[in-house]
Structures are given as C-alpha cells and as structure tokens.
C-alpha cells in the first residue's frame, strides 16, 4: 500500500513539474524561435516604418530605457527614505506595521490602477498630456515596494557589530546611517532596483494612457505633450490589428528584445543574490 502511495505521489509531482517547466520553457522557446531571426543591428538602430511592417525599434528601445531610468531615479530616494524610516526611525509597533501594510497593498495594486490614477493626475490635472515623465513617475511608484523590501531585508541582516563599532568611534546616528548602513546595504538596493526595473520595462497598463504612443515620437524635448515610444506598447498595438506577416515578424522581434532586456536586468543581480543567500546560510 505504501509502495503504491509513494509511486502515485511521485508520479503526480513529477507530472506537475514536467508540465509547469515544459510550458514555461516552451514559451521562451516559442518567442525566441519566431523573434530571433528578426533581431539584427539594424532592427535596434533604425526607426519604425510602414506602421511597424518595416524598419526597427530604435525609438521604442530609447523610450523604454528612458521610462525605466526615470522610474529608477524616482524610486531610489523614496525607497531609501522608507527603508530607513521603517528599519530605524519608526518604533517597533503599529506605525511600522502600517508602513509594511502600505507597501504590501501597493505591491498588490493592479498596474492598470496606476494608469487610471496617472490619467487623472498627470494627463488631466497637470495638463501634461502624454509625457515620459508621468510614465516614469508611475513606474517608479509601481516598483517602490520591490526596491524598498529588498533594501529592508538587507538592512535587517547587517551585522550589529558594524553599528556598535561605529557608535564606539563616536559617530552620530546620521553619520552611522550615511557612512555604515547605506554603503553596507547598497547591494540590497541595487538588487531590488534592477528587479524592479525588469518589471517596469515590460509594463504596459500604467503607460498606455499616460506616456506612450505608437508612432511619431523621438527624443522628448520637454515635459508637456512629450510622449515616447515604448516596446510593450508597440507589441500591444501591433499584435491586435495586423495580420501582415511582415508585421508579425517584427512583433516577435520586439518581444524577443523586450524579453532579453528583462532577463538581462534580472540576471545581472543573480551573483549578488546568490552571495547573500550563501552568507545567510553560513551565518
């Protein structure tokens, strides 16, 4: 009887693992097989022509990079402030729990809500129209929980002796924070930031009403009425209303480049994350 149970449990678990990994890997394969032939140097450096049927995605790439760079610049100071407030300045108890809860709720918020809020605030109230800056700000808030939590986790495992040693040297609290805590937990900030940017790069919903258009934008010159092109929105529009095989090749190509960017951003921090993992195990 227990041989049978063992076998059933093993086969069921194996089956699930094979299905799960099989589906997920075949997704990457399906995109790469269709998309890689379309990707070339010209694809990355030429601008879009014939409504996406020809040319490349240069300005889409520029737009996406600009959006995520802005998002990173917005969320870095906010995440540092919140992480320090959370770890050091708020007393343990209700206030700190509420701050965690807020980050949790923000992390769970569907990304389309960022788009709706951005439409009201930036597009209409501020009168910016579609602007790269509103997209960057929205994405910055979208990834804020990821960045903050990663930093908080790193601060949590800082050895207490570092701070005691610094206090013993007569440093004030702010000096300890700026010269010991922040430099020592930089890896947590960078990890969270790159993972966050990987997510921001692929988001469509927050920027579709607020920051990005399909064609006709280059480098933005100001803030008002300064949309950018972007890779996710490019895919979103093209895959809906075109059955032209030329377009189809370009869409898969764009998806491959986007996926490449997302994977690159997540893989850069992999050694750092593994190292932290090892340290945690050895400690």
């Amino acid at each position: 009887m227990c041989r049978t149970t063992d076998r059933v449990v093993f086969v069921a678990a194996l089956g699930c693992a094979v299905i799960a990994c099989g589906v997920l890997l075949s997704i990457v394969a399906a995109i790469a097989i269709r998309g890689l032939p379309a990707v070339s140097w010209h694809f990355l450096t030429e601008q879009i022509r014939l409504v996406g049927a020809a040319g490349g995605i240069f300005y889409n790439l520029v737009g996406t990079l600009l959006l995520i760079a802005t998002a990173g610049a917005i969320s870095t100071p906010l995440a540092m402030g919140i992480a320090l407030t959370h770890s050091y300045y708020l007393p343990e108890g209700r206030a700190r729990r509420n701050l965690s809860l807020l980050l949790y709720a923000l992390n769970g918020t569907p990304s389309i809500l960022f788009g709706i809020a951005g439409l009201i605030i930036f597009v209409k109230y501020f009168g910016w129209g579609k602007s790269w800056l509103s997209g960057g700000i929205l994405l910055g808030f979208l990834i804020l929980p990821t960045v903050t939590v990663s930093l908080v986790e790193r601060i949590k495992v800082l050895p207490g002796k570092y701070i005691e040693a610094a206090a013993g040297l007569g440093l004030t609290r702010s000096q300890i924070v700026s010269s010991v805590v922040l430099p020592q937990s930089m890896s947590g900030l960078i990890t969270g930031l790159l993972l966050g940017l990987a997510r921001a790069a692929g988001e469509t919903a927050p920027i579709m009403f607020t920051a990005t258009i399909f064609a006709g934008a280059t480098f933005p010159a100001g803030v008002k009425e300064s949309p950018v092109l972007s890779m996710p929105y490019h895919i979103f529009i093209l895959c809906q209303d075109s059955y032209d095989p030329g377009v189809s090749a370009k869409v898969w190509g764009t998806a491959t480049v986007l996926l490449g960017l997302v994977f690159l951003l997540s893989l850069i921090v992999l050694p750092m994350r593994l190292k932290v993992h090892e340290e945690a195990k050895n400690a």
Binding site: A17, L113, I121, L158, R173
Partner: protein
C-alpha cells in the same frame, strides 16, 4: 538580574548620540511622507471622482447587467462574473500544478537542481504580461478555437473567458510555484524526521505531514496568485474578446466560458477609459470599476499576508 541579550542593529543605533538637526532622519521622514501623501491623494481623487455614479445608478451599479454608456446604463455584474470566471479557471489549473511542481522540486530533486529550477522559475515570473498577451493572441486562441471545434462545440472565435483563464493560469504559475516552495521549505525538519521516524514512507509523509503542515503557506500562495489574476489587464484584454453584457444562464455555464466576455481590468484597459473622461457620470462609472478591482485585489493580497503571518506565529 537583567538577562543579557544581543541588541539588534536598530537598537544599537540608538545608543549613538543624536544631533538636534539630523539631515538623514529628516529626509527619510520626508521621503516617506511624500510617498504616503501621494498615494493618499491618488486614492482620494479616485474615490471623489467615483461619487457621481452612486447618485446616478445606486446599487444598480453592482447588480445591473447592462452597460451601454450611450444610454447612461452602467451595470457591472457581467464584468464581475468575467473577472471571477477567468481567475477561477486560472487558479484551478495553476494551483494544483504549481504546488505539485514545488513538491517535486523540494522533495525529490537534489538541492542544487532545486536551486536551478527555482531561479529559472523566478526568471520566468518576469515575462511581461504583454508578451503573454502576444502568445495568447497569435497562438493560444487559435489552438483553443481548433480544440473546441474538434470537440464538436461551436464558438464564435478563439477569444473567450476560457482562453483568458488558460493564459492567466500560465502567467500565475511561477508565483504559485515560488511561494509554494517557500511554504514547503518552512515546514520544520523536526516534523519531517518525526514522520519518517513513525515509519511513514516518503509519499505518505508528503501527503499526511508536509502538505497539511504547509497548508497556510500554500493557501497564501494561491491567494497571492489570485490577486495577480484578478488584476491582470493587458494579457486578458488581448484574448478575452471584450464583449460587454455577457450574462450566463447559470454561473459557470460552459457556453458562457467558451464565448467572449469582459473583465473589470480588461474594460479599464480599453478605449472607453479615454472616451469617458468628459462625462462625469460615465467617468465615475469607469473609475468605480478600478476601485472595486482595487478593493478586491488588496483584500485578497492582505488576506494572503495575514494567513502567512499567522502561520509563522505558530511555529
């Protein structure tokens, strides 16, 4: 006698003297305040702009089955149904498969292979939703259409609640697997040893000890995945058909699932969001969909966190 214990870094920091004017502290509080204030303003604006619809439709906003904005009819019930239908399909598939895969990784794979699988799955969790949408629109919906035809059914197209549910299942699979793996890791080794010591075989100890012990964490994992599925706009938008006012003969009627529908999030992703702004009532109705979605998703997400925290407190 006071017991001696090691101070946490946070506590030992407070042994250091503090200047009257502490720039780091002031700016930390400042950035936190800016964030909290910005989120509060955004939420207040959404609630305030949503008010007109309650005067216009009252509870009919929830219970109405018709949404014709040109006739000022705003009933969201079919969209609620669509949202629930696609999420339930997704979780029924992704829940068991994700948990099963996590059991396999944790119990049968050597540590190194498990690590590789975990990292791979985390990487795949980062695939953007628009890319899933692209796969859905160019591959999955044709496949669903052909399969349904082969089974003797007659759907109008491959765009359906079922297609959206299948796509969502794949999308939330990494979330379920990663969190289920964490939950299974959290079961203390003592429990495992006790199970083996009692003479349970590996399969029995998984079924009767490991899974029940990790129960809370597994529920939390599925709930968090549910939160993601409910709120997904872009991928669902591309394959759900976006047909308003589709009300089933009875809940989960098969013919309603293989035909086009609409979810709260896919509605918000559509052109109506841009059209609606000029008309206060129409805009209020659209914003309201977002607020309903937000409250449901945040409830589910916080519930997941609460269940998990209670589980940890028990250990």
């Amino acid at each position: 006698m006071t017991p001696t214990r090691v101070l946490t870094p946070g506590e030992s920091l407070f042994l250091a003297p503090r200047r009257q004017w502490d720039l780091v502290r002031a700016s930390s509080y400042g950035f936190t305040a800016v964030t909290v204030l910005a989120l509060a303003v955004a939420l207040t604006l959404l609630v305030w702009q949503n008010l007109p619809i309650w005067g216009h439709s009252g509870e009919g906003y929830f219970t109405g089955k018709n949404w014709y904005f040109r006739h000022q009819a705003f009933g969201m019930l079919p969209m609620l149904y669509g949202t629930i239908a696609v999420s339930v399909i997704a979780l029924l598939l992704a829940g068991p498969i994700g948990i099963g895969a996590a059991v396999f990784a944790g119990e049968y794979l050597p540590a190194r292979a498990r690590m590789v699988m975990k990292l791979m799955i985390e990487l795949l969790a980062g695939i953007p939703s628009v890319v899933y949408g692209l796969l859905g629109i160019l591959i999955l919906r044709n496949y669903v259409y052909d399969s349904l035809r082969a089974m003797g059914m007659d759907p109008l197209s491959g765009d359906s609640l079922l297609t959206a549910g299948l796509l969502l299942a794949v999308m939330v699979l990494p979330t379920v697997m990663t969190l289920a793996d964490d939950a299974l890791r959290g079961v203390s080794p003592i429990q495992r040893q006790a199970a083996r010591g009692l003479g349970l075989s590996q399969g029995q100890s998984i079924l009767f000890v490991l899974l029940p012990q990790a129960g809370r964490g597994l529920v939390a994992a599925v709930l968090l995945a549910l939160g993601r599925a409910l709120g997904e706009a872009i991928a669902v938008f591309l394959v759900v058909g976006r047909q308003d006012n589709q009300w089933p003969r009875f809940p989960f009627a098969p013919d309603s699932l293989i035909n086009a529908g609409q979810t709260l999030a896919s509605k918000l992703g559509g052109a109506e969001t841009n059209i609606a702004y000029g008309d206060p009532v129409h805009w209020a109705a659209v914003v309201g969909l977002g607020l309903i979605l937000l409250s449901v998703v945040i409830t589910v997400t916080l519930l997941s966190a609460w269940i998990q925290r209670r589980g940890e407190a028990h250990v």
